[in-house]
């Protein structure tokens, strides 16, 4: 990372600042102006994408704390999202907890359950731990499909969805008002980014990274490995639980099908593409994975429209081609999605964060980059 010259710190306090220069602070202000101004010019559909991104961002920061920073590979992301979503939903439906409180409580409950499923990390590392977290995924999924939370019966509600009354936010219903929901989810997302950033400039975050890089050395330096691994699982799950609860409040109808292993893998893709072990990487990854299918679909539809236009201009071949293209479009979309991921990773294996860093460094050092 290229460092800017001419910045001098006179005490440790200023040295430890996240954004020491005026330009950096100005950029942050501009970002917030953009974030708060977005509802002014964005339509309902764009707001929906923004909300999906912000929820995914909280979840991917959570997963990155565990996988990217602490090095404990987890395939249980979908399960932990589900725990958050169902906790929030059940608290609202059966205990009449206010929705905002239910989101925080869902985070806490998910932290406990995440900590429990982190117990195997005492003995298992790497891929072996990943398989153990796969068990968490399967167990939670099975419970959601077969267990009735009220009378405790097994096999009562096979795959039935849980309906949650729409949350009321100053007179707006959060499930159909994307604009109102935006401010709720933005609030949680900003808190998540801030909390995660702070975490990794203090002893706890350092201990997490130390466990990832050299666990024996960390232990010799006084890090209680087991305690900090569990703490990583719990902290990570708290973020993921909040994301799950927000999903539940957003859709008001949740079922196990939205929390399968596919979701776990999608989140892993987010943090790998964004950049493992980086908060900003989680953000870029969440944006990339959430928006890319939409962009590809938009492109595909555009091509389809163009083909149809040509086809209507009486070309037999074009008409045939347009028809075939319409059939193939969903598959082409999936292929393009995969291709985009592969190309991004070949371009910069350390993810979008590093890519952005490279671009910044290039311009900072330009024209004398040696």
């Amino acid at each position: 990372m290229a460092q800017q010259s001419g910045i001098f710190h006179e005490d440790y306090r200023s040295d430890l600042q996240l954004r020491p220069t005026t330009m950096q602070r100005l950029r942050l202000v501009l970002l917030f102006v953009f974030l708060f101004g977005m509802p002014v010019f964005a339509g309902s559909l764009e707001m929906r994408y923004a909300n999906n991104i912000l929820i995914a961002l909280i979840g991917s920061i959570g997963l990155n704390i565990l996988v990217g920073f602490t090095g404990q590979i987890s395939l249980g992301q979908g399960a932990f999202l589900a725990v958050g979503a169902y906790s929030s939903g059940l608290l609202v439906v059966y205990l009449n907890v206010p929705w905002y409180l239910s989101i925080l409580l869902a985070g806490a409950i998910t932290a406990l359950i995440g900590g429990f499923f982190g117990l195997p990390s005492l003995r298992l590392k790497g891929l072996y731990l990943a398989v153990a977290t796969l068990a968490a995924q399967q167990i939670v999924q099975w419970v959601l499909r077969n267990w009735d939370p009220i009378d405790g019966d097994i096999n009562q509600r096979v795959g039935e969805a849980l309906n949650i009354p729409a949350a009321n936010f100053f007179g707006h219903r959060l499930n159909d008002n994307e604009y109102a929901f935006y401010f709720v989810v933005l609030f949680f997302a900003v808190l998540a980014v801030l909390a995660a950033t702070n975490l990794f400039r203090t002893h706890i975050g350092r201990a997490f990274i130390a466990i990832r890089d050299q666990d024996i050395a960390a232990e010799v330096m006084g890090v209680h490995l087991f305690r900090y691994k569990l703490l990583a699982f719990a902290t990570s799950s708290f973020f993921v639980g909040v994301a799950g609860a927000l999903l539940a409040q957003h859709s008001t109808s949740i079922s196990w099908e939205s929390f399968t292993i596919n979701v776990s893998i999608q989140y892993l893709a987010m943090i790998i593409i964004g950049g493992l072990g980086s908060v900003s990487g989680s953000i870029y990854g969440a944006i990339f994975i959430t928006l890319l299918p939409q962009i590809i679909r938009g492109l595909g539809n555009g091509i389809e429209d163009a083909l149809q236009l040509v086809a209507s201009a009486e070309s037999q071949l074009a008409a045939h081609f347009a028809e075939r293209f319409q059939d193939l479009l969903p598959r082409i979309e999936q292929g393009a999605f995969g291709l985009a991921i592969i190309l991004t990773l070949i371009l910069e294996p350390e993810g979008l964060r590093k890519l952005w860093q490279n671009i910044k460094d290039y311009f900072r050092l330009w024209p004398f980059s040696y």
């Binding site: 440790y12 306090r13 702070n198 400039r201 203090t202 890089d213 010799v220 006084g222 209680h224 072990g277």
Partner: protein, 253 residues
């Protein structure tokens, strides 16, 4: 530190056989021996990474056998590793700050907020770490990621990380391995500084006989898991068993 009759077995292999050492405070105590003699195994026993089948290891009044490894820094024991085991993706500063872990007042909520007490705690620990940075003369690289540093500097940072726990005894596993003469001289000087200025007891495993003979107060020799000799450096030089096992070739130079 007292090591009494330590025996360590891996299946049929006797890694350590009835080894006893007595390390007086503020000494520089060298442990030498050919490859595979059990020197690192002995350190691992002291650190609780291996559990010896019999014998006692005492530091002050505390029995170290069976003690969880993460308690060591609290007792004032720190070590460095033979193969560099730094946190490669952290900066030098963060590596040293991690060593302050046990000295920190910890609270996850103050960490998430980074406000008031959490921040003051970071700054307080940072001041100590800067003393270590000054002593080891690594001011220029404190912001760099460890993975980007040269081997010699990494070794020095590892020494610094052990020192940053503010130990009363420092176990150094081949701190000069793979270095050129100048780097070795530097490390020897730092070890002497640490020993004299900070009053830290040093246990040193090293293959460079010149360095060992120059800086250590007392030397113990291991061969095939047994202690075959001990004494002041000049006595070791004369010890027939030691010469036979180890120094013989070195002396012919």
């Amino acid at each position: 530190m007292k090591v009494e009759g330590v025996t360590l077995r891996f299946g049929g292999v006797l890694a350590l056989q009835d080894v006893s050492l007595h390390i007086a405070p503020q000494q520089i105590y060298a442990i030498i021996g050919p490859n595979g003699a059990g020197k690192t195994s002995l350190l691992n026993c002291i650190c609780g990474l291996y559990r010896p089948q019999s014998g006692r290891i005492q530091y002050g009044d505390v029995d170290l056998v069976g003690l969880p490894t993460h308690h060591l820094p609290r007792l004032g024991i720190a070590r460095s590793f033979q193969n560099i085991e730094l946190f490669r993706h952290m900066s030098v500063l963060d590596n040293l700050m991690l060593a302050r872990h046990v000295h920190m007042k910890k609270n996850i909520f103050s960490a998430l907020l980074y406000w008031g007490r959490g921040q003051r705690e970071e700054i307080r620990q940072r001041e100590f770490v800067e003393h270590v940075i000054d002593l080891l003369e690594i001011q220029g690289i404190r912001r760099q990621t460890v993975a980007a540093l040269s081997y010699g500097l990494q070794k020095r940072v590892e020494l610094g990380r052990a020192l940053a726990t503010n130990p009363s005894i420092l176990l150094l596993d081949e701190p000069m391995a793979g270095m050129n003469v100048e780097e070795k001289e530097d490390i020897a000087r730092y070890i002497l500084d640490i020993n004299e200025e900070w009053g830290v007891t040093i246990v040193l495993i090293e293959h460079d006989m010149g360095a060992v003979m120059d800086i250590s107060d007392y030397v113990a020799v291991l061969d095939f898991g047994r202690k075959i000799g001990e004494g002041k450096p000049e006595e070791i030089r004369e010890n027939q068993a030691v010469i036979h096992a180890y120094l013989g070739q070195a002396d012919e130079r």
